[in-house]
Amino acid sequence: MSRIWLPRRRRHLAEGLGIDRRAFLAASLRAGGGAAAALALAGCDSWTRTRAAQSWVRGAERWNERVERKIFRPGARNVPSARLAATGARFPAYFIGDQLPVWDEAARGVWRLEVNGLCARPQRLTLDELKLLPRTEARLEHFCVEGWSAVAVRTGVRLSDLARHAGVSADARYVDFQSFDDDYHESWDIESAMHSQTLIVYGQDGELLGPEYGAPARVYSPVKLGYKCTKYLTRIVFLAERNGGYWSDQGYEWYGGV
């Protein structure tokens, strides 16, 4: 070990002083083209807005949706580890309007959830009527598109139960969830909507849903990213065609599965 510190060994450090700065510079310049191209690629991203780049990215999104539909399992269950406490109160309040959307009964009458579109028995359910339907409770991990997750206990009605109640037709391939938070809505594929943990939620962590979390009712599913789960629900429409959505129309993935 100590041998390496002997001067005899250090002698050829002197050789190290013959650093070829000029040769290094020349070689670097010659190679600079490649490096500059790489930097331009990373730093200046105006080329990403070209039509070719965008159509490639859009094509990949369609391909990804096909993959996501393929790996989708209706039986896949979201079961957060028992160590994780429900932390519903720490969910950020989130809405797109200028102020917290609160249903104004005096101006708009009693809140009702409309279920219509391709169904035999369209519904207009008050919150009390909704609560009379079979209740489902699930402790679920929520995944936000931003990358955070949080656990909460969700209480509500299975959308599949509600769909049966409304006699949804076999032609319904998509569902649109509409809200009274401005024009917020998101449409889904029917398979995700009929997942056994897709709920019309009116309770969170043992309490009635608060206005900051989408009261009186919201859709919630562990198989979709948060932005797909419309809060402040007013209408559930069963459709033959997809109907985009607030964030999906702006560039976020329409499918948005997890």
Binding site: F24, A27, G59, W63, I71, E253
Partner: protein
Amino acid sequence: MSDVQRRHHLIVRITHWVNAIALTIMVGSGLRIFNAYPAFARKGDTFCCYPFEGHRIPEWLTFGGWLAGARNWHFAMMWLLVVNGLVYLGFVYLHGEWRDLVPRRGIVRDAWQMVRFYLVLRRDHPAQGKHNALQRLTYFAMPYIAVVSVLSGLAIWKPVQLAPLTALLGGFVWARYWHFLAMLALVVLSLGHVFMVFAVDPYSLRAIITGGYDASRSPEARNARPFVNLRKKS
């Protein structure tokens, strides 16, 4: 006297540059995605092992502009990265180049000798074949790190549909952390690789572009350390 050989097969050269571009975009867009929530802790929880919770990555290192743009690029480029990686590995396996990449007996000792040589604790460049021991270790490790990065990426892309994979990695939060660490390892090794190309063996640039390599200018022939003996000995 020059001694030009063909060093890298066309497929290796193409996959190398496709990988360089795809990896750059994956890292940049990944960092932009990370910036939407620059932390690992689950909401209402703490995380043990990341000292910069809440600090965003500098904008100029990111790619994609905004979260949706970065996600779209990330989820598009991942296919190119994986397909390209499989083409490379398949070729290297079938064509025999893997022999120059798998660690040989005594690789740790050889790597230590390379370190000593670079630290000027040893006078002569250790004998090597196509790559020195440090290169071998790096090029051999890269595909393994890439596998970790792909698996952890899938685990955070589909934490419910691929729940067993996510659970295997310790859950969503940890899978996200492994994805970040794998990225960091790939970036560190890639930057080290690029530095060494310029500082020790700029002649290898020719080999990875046109394929030709002048063996009489190899680092071993020049006894080259970073910035030392860059010119061919006359």
